[in-house]
Symmetry: C2
């Protein structure tokens, strides 16, 4: 039976390697080196780099804190807090490396169908949660009903991915907090 | 003296290869094969893959049609037309490959400093043009003056890159036209 700790070490370190080097740029050797495990041990635990990447995407999805969305009070304020918290999470892990989901999305053609589908599923699920809060804001008259809640939710996440990408190439995140306020103007009733 | 036509052929075909495979995924051989020139001829014309990528980025920047921004009439309508035209351009070259600038931005850490700087410069320059139209809309009372024109312009391009990225992984662009309208709501006075 393969050692559990080796598998855990691979999972623990792979996210950082993928964020820094991208899916294509991260070799199995980069990952086993970062995890400090023998290179040969990789295939005892994963069928392929794609297999590990899918696990990393699902693990990363669990870091998206939805509790801010589910609080009481103004929907626009909850959305604001949620987006700020997400940006803080990305900033804390190094804004110059961007968002793991966005990076994998960008490489989706070469990373293959399973990676593409995993990123897409995570974004759809996240947008679903954001959409519930938006619908509450629509009922409360705070948020426009010109568009379905789902379309407004998808817009917010599209903006977030694009803004994170710019912060990555500008190596500057000073603009992000203010830009949350601009994006949310689009939702106002 | 190196043949001009070989250089032209490399430039002509490299954009497509970079869009399909990304900077890291596109090998010199992929590029020379697509251009139908001998592999060895590459280094007669370019010092490195990075060198060619910078030329491709600057060439791509010239496809951003600014004429729609400079027309007469409502600033919001001109911005709408400009964003739609840009999305059409990306759609026409295969939405599943995303935006060349966005793809290079995502790979900026591994593609290196010159590629990162070239993408950044193109986006800053493009945002500058968008910003002029926004400032006109602010003067006309159509667009909010809560934020500087430059911040609103940067927001629009961030949204555009994020939306293109989602269209790429969803392999669907049906939502894009409507989402231009949502993004522009953020600018309304």
């Amino acid at each position: 039976m393969p050692q559990v700790s080796v598998r855990n070490r691979l999972v623990e370190h792979a996210e950082d390697v993928f964020r820094r080097k991208g899916f294509g740029g991260a070799s199995i050797q980069d990952i086993t080196q970062a995890a400090n495990v023998p290179k040969g041990s990789f295939y005892n635990h994963f069928d392929s780099k794609q297999d590990l990447a899918v696990e990393i995407i699902l693990r990363h999805a669990r870091t998206i804190d939805l509790s801010t969305l589910e609080a009481d009070g103004s929907a626009l304020e909850r959305l604001h807090e949620h987006l700020i918290a997400r940006l803080e999470h990305i900033r804390a892990s190094g804004i110059e490396f961007g968002c793991l989901l966005g990076n994998f999305a960008s490489e989706s053609i070469t990373a293959g169908e399973r990676v593409r589908a995993a990123v897409h599923d995570v974004l759809v699920s996240w947008a679903g949660s954001v959409s519930v809060t938006i619908a509450e804001g629509q009922t409360a008259g705070e948020i426009t009903t010109d568009r379905p809640a789902s379309a407004l939710a998808a817009f917010l996440l599209d903006w977030l991915e694009g803004a994170t990408l710019r912060a990555k190439i500008a190596d500057d995140h000073g603009f992000l907090t203010d830009e949350v306020g601009i994006a949310l103007r689009a939702l106002r009733a």
